[in-house]
């Protein structure tokens, strides 16, 4: 799976969970909190990622995830 494909799927997941995030906030560098994603939203998104990509994200990686770009990195590393 290419990085672009991962990113597109992640955008779908985030959009599904939080439909009210404006497009300009959905960039790799935006901190999740700034995009309006609270701690429970982030957990729900991680859950959806694990289900979609059939991966298991360790707790320490989940806790270090601060931006949308971090999510892409983590998933990319796990699906390789």
């Amino acid at each position: 799976m290419t990085r672009d494909e991962i990113e597109r799927k992640l955008i779908d997941i985030v959009r599904h969970e939080k439909s009210d995030i404006p497009d300009e906030k959905l960039t790799a560098a935006t901190p999740l909190a700034e995009a309006g994603i609270d701690s429970l939203d982030a957990l729900t998104i991680l859950f959806a990622i694990e289900e979609e990509f059939h991966v298991s994200i360790p707790d320490d990686q989940a806790r270090s995830m601060k931006t949308f770009g971090d999510m892409i990195d983590i998933v990319e590393a796990l699906v390789e």
């Binding site: 429970l40 957990l43 729900t44 991680l46 859950f47 694990e50 289900e51 298991s56």
Partner: protein
Amino acid sequence: MPRVAITGIGIVSPFGRGKRAAVDALRAGRSGVRLIESIDTAALNCRIGGEVPREAHEGLVKGHDRFTRFALIAAEEAVEEARFAAGNFDAERVGSIVGTGMGGCEMLDAGYKRIYGDNAPRVPPTTIAWSMYNAAASAVATRFGAKGLAYAVVSACASSAHAIGQAFRAIRSGEMDAVLAGGSDAPLTFGSIRSWESMRVMAIDNEHPEAACRPFSADRKGFVLAEGAAVFVLESFESAERRNQPIVGEVVGFGMTSDAGHITDPSADGAARAIALALRDGALTAADVGYINAHGTATRANDATETKAMKAALGERAYAIPISSTKSMHGHAMGASGAIEIACSLAALNDGVIPPTINLDVPDPECDLDYVPNAARQARVPLFLSSSFGFGGMNGVVAVRTVHGL
């Protein structure tokens, strides 16, 4: 002591969304019990329930467990009627008390199915936060900005009677100016129904759902599991008068007792003491009582015991009071039942209607009071009692004045 006004009534029930739908059904003696549609019941013996119709709730609230969504829908109606806005109050003196018997059954059932049924490696991370028993009380407090006392009351089928009683006391003591109080339950899940089947206390008539629940009738076979919520805006008279807000009822007395007996067999003594305490609390006598919304589950044990309790607490006057079990129409919504029954009673009585007990076809010598069989009556009732008697021997009785008694 401050008097405690009811300024808003909200209900979502097997009759649909809102008090209008409930009063229409109660007046017509129309059952809301039907074949359950929200889950696959093919493998269950019991396929009927007092299910909230899809159109009454779907899409109105995002997220949460089903029982919290019901609580929010009911609270919305109550708040709208009461023109309640946190800005009109000192938010720190507004509370939220929501009773529930079974909590987040939808989340728990789905979670356990994933874990044990599907061997899935994980469950949704909202499982804990949405299934906890205080989730509805929290959601109501959050949605409407109540920053005072907030908690869930969990006492089986007496949960919301206790919740309303606690809210009444918090206002009467001067601790709170207003409380959003009520109850919610959504136990129509596969696991919950299966567990109730094991107790052999359910009326299972999949061919005639509307005739299954037969309180006080000699041919009664048990209760019908149901779901729903009712929430009230309770506030001090002073607060309502300051806002020029119409008062639609008044909580005047509350009694609660414990049987300290058997976990599932009810006691007439515990129930009778709760009725007597509610009267004493409101400085009332049996002569003041114009209607009783009975617990009336339609189990063999409850209805005869409750009849004894009413006679013990009210004496000869018990024979003259119209009594009904609206569970005959909306089923038994567990911890929400007290709130639903107070909402049904108050809304119907304010409209001049005493709700009937439907399916009361065969007199039972052990149940020989006036249960308003099968047809509603027109009457101006100034005050009623609502009784709730829960598993664990936990009893709660609330005395409420209608608009005709204010």
